[in-house]
C-alpha cells in the first residue's frame, strides 16, 4: 500500500519560511537544476541518469513484430514506466494507477513518443508485415524528486545510445545480423526533448493568489522530494534545442500568472540547451570508446 509522505509540521514550516527568504535546503538557487550525471551500461541502450539523489535507469530493447494494420509503414515504440516501492514508500507495487504515476508516465509518453522523437518510420522492415518494436523500460531506482525530468533524460539517452541489429532484405527473406557479425545501427532520433519541472509555492493567502495583483508566488526548478511534498503546484515543460515547446503540463494546482509561466519556459530553454549539449558530448565520447575496440578488431582482420 502506498504511503503518503508526511513531513513534520516544524520541518515543513522551516522549508517554506526558508523559501520565502530565497533559500533552499540544499543551498541551490531557485533556478538551479541539479547536476546531471549520465552513465551508460556495457550493452547498447542502457542508460542510468543521476539527478541529485534521484536515480533512474532506462533499458531499451528491440524485437521484430507485425506493424499495426492502420499504420503499415511504422514500427512500434513502447515506453513503460515502472515505479516500485524500491524508489520510495510513496509508490505502490504492481499497479501504477496513482495520480502521480499516471501523470509521470503520460508526460514522458507525450514528451518522447507523441512528439516523434523516435523516427518510427525508420523501424519498418517490410511494409505491413515486419517492423521493429522498440521498448524502453524505465525503472526508478531512487527517488529524491524530479523523476519526470530524470526519466525523460534516461529514455532519450538510452534511445540515443541504443543500436539495433542490422537487417538485410532479399525479396521476402529478411536476415537479422547478430551484433558481433555486423555493426549494429543507431535509431533515428529526430529531436532531443528535455523535461524541466517547476514547483510552485504560495507564500501568502489563497485570496491573495486569486485576487491579488502581487504575483508573489515562488517558482523553483527541480525540487527535491521534500520540496515536492510541500508544493502547491507543478509545471513540467518539455523543450528541445530547436526552440520548440514539445509538451507543457500544468495539471491544476496553484493558479499562476501566464507571464510567470512564460518566464519559466524561457528558463527551461537555457537548461535544455545546456543538457542537450552535455548528452550529445557523452554519447560521442561513448561511441568513440566503443569504436576504439572496433578499430582494433578491424585492423586485426586487415592483417
Amino acid at each position: 500500500m502506498a504511503k503518503e509522505i508526511i513531513t513534520p509540521v516544524a520541518e515543513s514550516k522551516f522549508i517554506l519560511d526558508a523559501l520565502k527568504e530565497n533559500q533552499r535546503l540544499d543551498g541551490r538557487s531557485f533556478d538551479k537544476f541539479r547536476d546531471v550525471d549520465i552513465s551508460f551500461g556495457k550493452e547498447y541502450g542502457d542508460a542510468t541518469v543521476t539527478l541529485g539523489k534521484t536515480k533512474v535507469q532506462c533499458r531499451v530493447s528491440c524485437s521484430i513484430t507485425q506493424p499495426y494494420e492502420d499504420r503499415p509503414f511504422e514500427g512500434l515504440f513502447i515506453i513503460s514506466t515502472e515505479m516500485s516501492p524500491m524508489a520510495g514508500p510513496q509508490f505502490e507495487n504492481g499497479s501504477n494507477t496513482g495520480d502521480d504515476e499516471v501523470l509521470c508516465s503520460r508526460i514522458i509518453e507525450k514528451a518522447i513518443r507523441r512528439s516523434g522523437a523516435l523516427d518510427v518510420e525508420g523501424l519498418c522492415i517490410v511494409a505491413g508485415s515486419k517492423c521493429w518494436a522498440i521498448r524502453a523500460d524505465v525503472h526508478v531506482l531512487d527517488c529524491d524528486g524530479g523523476i519526470i525530468d530524470a526519466s525523460c533524460l534516461a529514455v532519450i539517452c538510452a534511445l540515443l545510445h541504443f543500436r539495433k541489429p542490422d537487417v538485410s532484405i532479399l525479396g521476402e527473406q529478411v536476415t537479422v545480423h547478430p551484433i558481433n557479425e555486423r555493426e549494429p545501427v543507431a535509431l533515428g532520433i529526430l529531436h532531443i526533448p528535455i523535461c524541466v519541472t517547476f514547483s510552485f509555492f504560495n507564500p501568502q493567502d489563497v485570496e491573495e493568489n486569486i485576487k491579488g495583483a502581487g504575483n508573489n508566488e515562488i517558482a523553483i526548478i527541480d525540487a527535491t522530494l521534500k520540496e515536492e511534498s510541500l508544493r502547491d503546484g507543478v509545471l513540467t515543460v518539455t523543450l528541445n534545442k530547436n526552440r520548440e515547446v514539445v509538451q507543457v503540463s500544468k495539471a491544476g494546482g496553484l493558479p499562476m500568472d501566464a507571464l510567470s509561466l512564460m518566464d519559466c519556459c524561457h528558463k527551461a530553454y537555457d537548461i535544455t540547451e545546456r543538457i542537450t549539449d552535455q548528452i550529445l558530448a557523452l554519447i560521442k565520447e561513448d561511441s568513440q570508446k566503443r569504436n576504439k575496440f572496433a578499430q582494433i578488431l578491424s585492423s586485426e582482420n586487415a592483417r
Partner: protein, 365 residues
Amino acid sequence: MSDVISVIKRQSGLKYASIDNDEMENFSSDEDVPMVDIDGKSNGGKRNEAAAGEIVTPGELITEDPIWMRGHGTYFLENSTYSSAAGTISRVNRLLSVIPLKGRYTPETGDHIVGRITDVGNKRWKVDIGGKQHAVLMLGSVNLPGGILRRKSESDELQMRTFLKEGDVLNAEVQSLFQDGSASLHTRSLKYGKLRDGLLIQVPSSLVVRSKNHTHNLPGNVTVLLGVNGFIWLRKTSKMDVARETPSAGPASDISEGPTGAKSLNPTNSVSITRLEEESSWKIYSDKNDPSITPSIRQNISRYANVIKALAFCEIGLTHERIVIGYEASIAYSNIGELIEREVMESIGDDVINIEKMRGNGATE
C-alpha cells in the same frame, strides 16, 4: 390521453427543461459568439458596490468598504469583499453575506427536523438529515423506555438497536452544533421520536420555512411534520396529535374554523399529555403501525404527498395553509394518480398562489 402513461415530447434537442427555463427564449443558436465586447454589460468585478438582494456570482467584488463583517458566502482580500457563491446579498446590521441559490440543508440549533438512522455506533446513532454531514444522536439525548427519570445503564448501550435501528425515521430537534458544522440532535420531548403510521417524502430544504410549529393536523385525519431539512412525514392523526392541538386554543381553532369545514376535533377524545407521558414505555420505540389506518386515510396521505410534491415542483414554499389550499384544489381530481402529471402539478401550484392572493395573505412572505 390515456390514463396508462403520459409522454411529453421535447423537440428542442437535448435542452434540459428545468422549471426555470421553460420559456427559454429561442435565440438563434447557430450564431457563433464573437470575441468583441469583452468588457460588456456583465461585470467581472469591476464595480464598486452591490446592493442588498442583488445577485452576485463567484469571484465578484461585493464591496471595497472595510466596515462590513464578512459572513457566509464571502471572502476578502485587504479591504475588498468578494462573493464565493452565486446568490443574493444579505446585509444584517454589519454582517454581509451571500445566500446561495441552492445548497444542502444547514442545521441550526432549535431546528425541528426529520431524519433517518443510517448507522448505530458507540453510544450514538448517525442520522441522515439531508445535510452535508450526518447528524449525531447520542444515547443520552433520547428518552428511554421506563420514564424520563430512568438512569441509563450499560445494558442500554448493548441494546441500542432495539430502540432505533438503521432505516428508522424519527423527528428530533437540533440540540447543538459541532465545530465542523454537523448537528447533534435530541428527542427528549414526547413530540419527538420514532415515526410511524405513514410515509416520508423529501423536498428541497429551502422550501420549508422555519417557524414556531412544524407539526400540523390537516383535514382528512392526516398530520404533517414539516422537517426544516425538507424531510416531510405524513401520518394518520394520532390521539396525541389531537391532544397537542386541542388544549391550546390557538392553532387548533385555526383548523376547525378552516375553510374546508374540517371535522372539528372532539375534545372529549383527547388524552392529556401527562397521561401519555406515563404511558411512555417501549411503545415509543415500537415498529408496529396503528392497526386502524383506514383506506380513506391512506388515500388522503397519498393525496397530501402528491400535493406537497406538486408545490415543491412549482418551487412554492410549504406552509400549513398552502398545503390545505392545495389539498382542497386537488379534490377536483378524483383520481389521486392524476396529480403526478406535470400540467396538473402546475395548475395546483397556480391555484395555491391565486387563492392565497385572493385571501390577501400572499404578501406576508
